[in-house]
Subunit: 113 residues, 2 copies
């Protein structure tokens, strides 16, 4: 038992449209913050990993990257602080997944350039 489909660790990631403007000072700050979070190869890899596996991973990420566990955890924190990913404690491990809302927002902001 206890086989409670651990597949999706993250809530459905709401699909409501984002009404915030795509330009202006706030948008600039937002875009800069998001882009900064993406502005590191390791973090891009992490995003790709999370995107590939629709489901979310945890320490698998550490295995995929040539970095120490603490370093990966740090990168995960940066991405989480930026809002691009979400983490949920699932038993002894933590399950991360992409925040599609934030990712859409990033795409919209970049698209608006």
């Amino acid at each position: 038992m206890s086989d409670a489909a651990p597949s999706a660790c993250c809530p459905p990631s709401d699909d409501r449209p984002d009404l915030r403007p795509i330009e202006g000072e706030e948008a600039d700050q937002e875009l800069a913050a998001l882009a900064k979070a993406v502005g590191h190869p390791a973090r891009v890899q992490i995003l790709r990993l999370l995107a590939r596996r629709a489901s979310c991973v945890c320490g698998e990420i550490v295995d995929e990257l040539p970095l120490a566990q603490s370093t990966v955890s740090q990168h995960l924190k940066v991405l989480k602080d930026a809002g691009l990913i979400r983490g949920e404690i699932d038993g002894p491990r933590t399950c991360y997944c992409i925040d599609n809302r934030a990712l859409r927002r990033l795409k919209a902001l970049v698209g608006g350039l």
Copy 2:
């Protein structure tokens, strides 16, 4: 001959499609580098300024930003090194404009996330 209308300082910005892959290690590096360049509010503002005025500006940028001239020049250099903008010396001043090819590339890479 060489009757280059001084209005547009930048060459037509070629429209050929970009055939490079949107994923993979190289793409990761590329996206990280581009995102890093965008990852600063002042640089986002500069990009917006250059996008708004279809034509290109130079020291006007300094007037728009609350930063010293040397600092703005530094940011311009970062953007130029990343390939996102191009600069052309036009008499005593330098004329910057967006490199649409690189910008498109950035959008494609972000869109591929």
